[in-house]
Each structure stands twice: as C-alpha cells, then as structure tokens.
Amino acid sequence: MRAPNEIDFWRGFALVTIFVNHIPGIYFERFTYRNVSLSDSAELFVFLAGCSMRILVDGAARALPAQWLVFRLEARAFNVYVAQMVVTEMAIALLAATAFFLDAPYLLDWHNASAVFNDPVRAHIGLVLLTHQLGYFNILPLYVVLLFIAPIVALLHRHAKALLPFVSFIIYAFALIFGVNLPTWPVEGTWFLNPLTWQFIYVLGFLLAGTDGIGGFARRHRSVLSRLAIPVVLLGAIIAFSDFSPDPVDVPEPKLLFTFDKTFLSPARLIHSLALTAIFARTYKIIAAWIPRPSEFLCLLGRNSLIVFCALSLLSLMGQILRFIFGGHVALDALIVILGILLLGFIAWTAEWRDRLRAKLASKPLSPPHSAAF
C-alpha cells in the first residue's frame, strides 16, 4: 500500500467529483468545481493518469527492457479494457433489470444503451471495439486508448525525449484544426472525449510529473507559474459563472481553437486545467495537515482508482435510477452522495484488505493441506 501522496489525493478528489457530476440533476452537483471552472474533473483525471504513468516509468519500470515495459503497459491497458467491458455490461444489465422490474422500457434508452437492445448484433461488436459507448461511461474508453498508446509515450520518452511533446502537440493541433475525431458505430457520431486531443493532456501530465524537461522547468519556476495561473483561473471562474461561450461565427478558423469545447479539449479548457494544476500543486500537504482524515480517505480512493472508477460508474447509474423512482429530492440526493462515497471507500478498503491478506499469507509458511481435495 502506498503512503498517502499528492497524486492519489487529487485522483480521489477527481473520482468523488466525477461520481457527483455523473448523476444529472443531483442537488450537490452545484457544489462541484465545474460550476466555477472552464475545465472539470475529466481533465484532472486524465492529467493525473499521465502523472502516474511517469512515476511508474521512472520508478518501478525504469530498469525494464523495452519489450517488458511494452508488455507491462499493454497488460495494464488490457486490464482497464476488461474493466470497461465488465462495467458496461453490468450497467446494461442494471438498466435492463430496472426496466423489466419497474415495467419502464424507456430506461433501456438511457445513456445510449438502446442500440444494445434494438440492434444487438452490431452494438455488441461496437461495445467490444469501443465504438459504442454508454453516456457517462466514456472516460474509461478514452483511458483504455491512452493506456494502449502508453508504450509509445514511454519509449519516445526513453529514446527521443524531445520528440514526445512535439509529436503529441502535432496530433493535438492537427485534430483541432481539422476537426478530426474517432467515429462511433453503430450509432452514427463521434467519441464524446476525443482521444486524439485528450492524449495531449495525458502526455502533459506525464511530462510535468518528471523532474527534467518541461517538468523541471515547471518546478524551477513554480512560484511564477502559480502567480500567472491566478488570473487564468479567476477569468475561467467568471466565464463559467456568467455562462459565456465564444461564438463560432465570430471566431476565426479553425474555430475549435477558440471555442470551449470539451470533446476536442479546446485550448481554453486545457490552459485552464493546467492553471488549476499550477495553483493547487503542492497544496496537498497543507490540506492533509488541515483535514487529515478526509485527505487519507481521498488517497485511499485514489490508490484504488480503477476499481473505484468502475464502482462509481455503477453507483452513479444506481443514483440516477433511485432519483427516477423516488423523484429528485435534496434528502434523497444527500443519501445517494453520502452512501455512494462511503461505499466507494469500502470498496477501496476491501481491495487493500485483500492485498494485505495476500501479503500476510505469503509471508507465513502455509501448513500442509490436510486434504488433497482442498
């Protein structure tokens, strides 16, 4: 078990925020930071994923030969991919069961699920290929793609350091300028979070988590950068609060460079997200000293981010179903949030307890089995 640290803390924070934000209409959504911010927890989560990858590549996987590094990273990607498959299937079953038992067939429609029931042959192919995604279940598919390309990021970092930010930026700029996104199928459309643009914030997380290059520069000029970030964050708060959004008609081509587009991670969102990072980087220790127990709790969630993410996706869907059944009341919303967060903590604790138990059993010599059948 890792000691509580900054990345796990903020990842835990992002997970709790995603949980609340994924229950549309819930009362407590108004207290999440996207209401006073151009960017939201999705940017934070992907940025931190890049940071974690850097810590792995520079730490535990540092001595691994290239082929084993690739193998390890792809195995991790496959793990997340399997998690996405399982959690999506469980969400589909949850919707189907609710629709069946409540005699509410319209729930089969929720979050783009209808193709699974109405066009199952093509939709199942799409689910496996990630070209059919459920609404609110679209961060993990992006994460899977990012993890599948992680070996390229790691190898470029090892063998052509200077090339990594350049290549990543070129892909980002190309996708923005030409409006390129991956298609969805069988439902005609495009990915809600475009991997071609979102890879850039992942790579920036990877670079900024290091002590050399851009990361070293950011560390050396931390105080200047955090001061520069203050007006950006304030401006973002004013823009978000006033609900301002640039008019594509007025802005010059390529328009996605100037709008506040989430799908394409427009520069304004990216810059705002980085500015938030510049301000809040290293505040973890202050926060942890101020509110130690909640900080430890968030670190616990962040350490077990994959299982917590899967659980929150399903819990948020359950929250939506409860709101559908009982109506949207503040008391119910409070219950959903409190129970949901406690359950997330319990699931994370269980995962660590299993690890601890495994370690304990491994350290103790086992008594010989009494029965060969056991």
Partner: protein, 247 residues
Amino acid sequence: MIAAPRAEDASAPPAAPPMSPPCDVPATDIAAPATLPNVTQALQKGEKVRILAIGSSSTLGSGASSKSRSYPSQLESILEHALKGVEVVILNRGVAGEVAETTAERIKSEVALRKPDLVLWQLGTNDALARIPPQDFERTVRSTLRWLKENQIDVVLVGVQYTSRLSRDPNYIAIRDSLQKIAAEENILYVRRYDAMRFIAQTRANLQLMAGDNFHLNDLGYQCMAEHVAHALIVSLFVKRMRPIHN
C-alpha cells in the same frame, strides 16, 4: 396559399406539405409559427439547406424498422419534395437516453464543425425521467438557445412525445410546460409533439404510433413526427416571407 421561399421562384410557391390521413392534426396543435431567418436566407440564395437534427432516441430512430425510417431521414425527403429544387441535407446526431445538458455540449461541437443553417433539437423526455429540476433544464436550454441565436443559427425545439404511461407524471408535464414557456419567451419555433400525438391518440384510437414498449415511436409515429416538423417549418418560412420587409 404559401409564399415561395426562393425569391426567383416567387410565382411558384411551395405549399405546406399535406399531412397523410393518419398524421393529420390541426395546425394549432403542431406549432405557433416563428421566424427562421437563416434558412430563409439560404433558400433565397438557392443554397443547400444544412440541418443538424440532434437529440435523443426520437432523433436516432429507436423503434423504427430501419435508419431510413427515422424522422430526420423522412423529413429530408418531405422538405426536398416541398421545396422543389432545393437540396436539403440533414445530419442525424441522435444519442438515445441523453439529457439536454449533454446534448448542449454536443451542439456546440457540431455547430462549430458543421455550421448548419438550422438545428432541430428534440429534447425533454430524458430530463423528465432523470428528474432534472425544471429550472435547471430551463437554464441549460435557454443558455444554448441564446448561444445559437448569437451564432445566427436557426433553431427548432421538438418537444416530448405523448404516451399514456407518462401523461400523469408530474415531472414529465413540468418539462413539457417548461419547453412551451421557453419557446414562447425566446420566440423559438416549438413543435408540440405531445399535443399533436395526443390529438391522434384521442381521435384515432386504433391507430398505433408507438412501438411495442408504448414509449418509442414506430415507423408510422416517425412519419407523423417528420410530417409535423415539416409542416411547422414550411408554415414558419411562409410567415417570414409574408412579413413586410423593413429597411
């Protein structure tokens, strides 16, 4: 009589497309006309009319026997037939089960990329089912409408469907009323699908517009939806043309 949308064809005005017998409802049960300056301008110049149909399952065509039976596909044919000689391209961006807040995000991306003349935004049903507070729903819709207006893109709101199982759901009715209010205050063309479908249900009880789940539309339901939207569009274009031009 309907005035021509194309200046050069003023002598050959297109009529509002006649509704087929099963879909026929009084015009007052479909929509109050509103101006569509951007589409009118495209028609006057004889340009292709680009329409973005966005929304949830009713846009996607859940319950239809094929993609070509979805309401945007059928609407494209009806409009091309009614506006003779005008090319109409409708892009279908329906995502089933989506709430307005998420669609609003997609509208911004799609508008920036596709630059349509008109956005047909079908909405409300999923917000009602997700128990989105009507005031939150209203805020999302108004803010997106303002954004579209500032971008000089015409917009038509296509409301919730009528289904007997949800007609007594207070959230459903609140969202329906909220749409009506927004459309009236923002002067937006609003297709009152609920009223049109209820009229058909009450006057032609044997006619089945819904799929087996009594929630999604069937092929006939989508045909009626396309006819009602087409009727509302053509009548609104006619109203615009009949208004005196002030310099």
